[in-house]
Subunit: 236 residues, 2 copies
DNA sequence: ACAAAAGTGTTCAGCCTACACCCATGG
DNA sequence: CCATGGGTGTAGGCTGAACACTTTTGT
């Protein structure tokens, strides 16, 4: 669907007043990063709309897949953002201008939208980000140094940041952020980054191994000074 | 707004394709119960729509207040129910028939709806349930013995049941289900009911008191055989 | 007096905590 | 050989589990 068609008759294909936005979080060089898209001089979250015959979850997975190329998306629901001020007609006008197409003030997008926020943990190396129709570039931004963002998307990222911190205490499904094989020091560092507080190294290692989720690989790695760490993999 | 107006032009006032349903849970005689509304020979959850200028949370609170008369609603988001098969035009036809008003096949309600599920814990004694425009009666039903329900509402109740079980392990905000003053045996029984498993009486008491959330009232109660329990109240 | 209900104690195991200590590697 | 980084061990404390004991009440 090209942009003029989208503006004019998107409501025939998608549910109106309802959108999906995804905070795609990766981890690189000890820093948590979010995948953002640029339009003009600001950025926004990857997002989209729900096909009239499409399950909501399928829409979120589709959007994630479209943007990252990830075949088996791992998504979690974040929150509903339902403030009535979420009307971004003014922004859409800028977007249309950017794309060089005529502005349609009557378009369905110039209305209030409730958005369903999701978040997904991905391994950056395995993603193949693609830009969409209107966005001109993508970028991974540290959660602590986000650029200026459109709409209320900075708020949504912040919600995901807090949520991730909460979730890690109950589940340890954080290895999505790491490569297939990783070392305990790497996993340790990741947890510290997410929780933003130091964790006892010894305890962490024992706790992780006690879960029985990991298998130790006999291989080791070579590196800088110290001892060579074991590598681990999540059991099939 | 009367029903014909609602069918004809509800979409002018409410966001289309989006609804709110609330699982209102109470506790009575050792049993968890949900507040349901009857239309014809089946039941459904209290629910409604989101005003075009109304925050989503405000809509949920309004619906809860309308149905229960509770001034300070305590709501938690449950889940999004977004299957494309959630089109209940056929049911609406029955509802209109029940209400004795002409059926409007073109109405906005004969479309797919994504619903935002919330749940709320209430003290049954403090609720003053009211029926709405189309529903003929209300009733509190044990979660284990739900009547035949319209749409997919049985599914939503089940999701709330599971969620409540999860939540109680992290937070102990269950006293909403009890009167202002209650005894430890009562709170103990409530937790056992929610978790559906026996809890050590001694440990439970110590754990609860250790939270420091309760103040012991010097009064006691008189009752059947055994010793008189202390009463407790949540600290202001 | 007895059974039943409610409150409190006691013991043991397991886990969390905070380190200390031992191994391996590069400079 | 020493600094650095990684793996493992250990002593103390806290918490949870299971059960015993005591107190209070109706019958």
């Amino acid at each position: 669907m090209d942009l003029p068609t989208f503006y004019a008759s998107g409501a025939d294909h998608f549910l109106p007043n309802l959108s999906v936005d995804i905070v795609i979080i990766g981890y690189e060089q000890g820093v948590l990063k979010a995948l953002l898209l640029r339009i003009g001089d600001r950025w926004l979250l990857p997002g989209g709309y729900i096909g009239r015959q499409e399950p909501v979850v399928a829409a979120a997975e589709r959007i994630l897949e479209e943007r990252t190329g990830i075949a088996e998306p791992h998504l979690k629901f974040l929150a509903v953002f339902g403030d009535p001020s979420r009307n971004f007609g003014a922004q859409w006008q800028v977007f249309a201008q950017q794309a060089g197409i005529p502005w349609q003030p009557q378009s369905w997008v110039n209305d209030r939208f409730v958005t369903l926020g999701y978040y997904s943990l991905v391994h950056i190396e395995e993603t193949r980000p693609r830009v969409g129709e209107i966005d001109e570039a993508y970028g991974w931004f540290p959660l602590e140094a986000l650029p200026s963002m459109w709409m209320d998307h900075a708020l949504i990222v912040e919600a995901a940041r807090l949520r991730l911190k909460e979730d890690i205490r109950h589940e340890q499904v954080t290895f999505n952020l790491l490569p297939d094989t990783f070392t305990m020091p790497e996993l340790h560092q990741l947890h510290q980054t997410i929780l933003q507080e130091p964790l006892d190294r010894s305890r962490f290692q024992k706790k992780m191994l006690a879960t029985g989720l990991f298998e130790r690989l006999p291989q080791r790695r070579k590196d800088s000074p110290g001892r060579n760490p074991y590598q681990y993999r999540v059991k099939h």
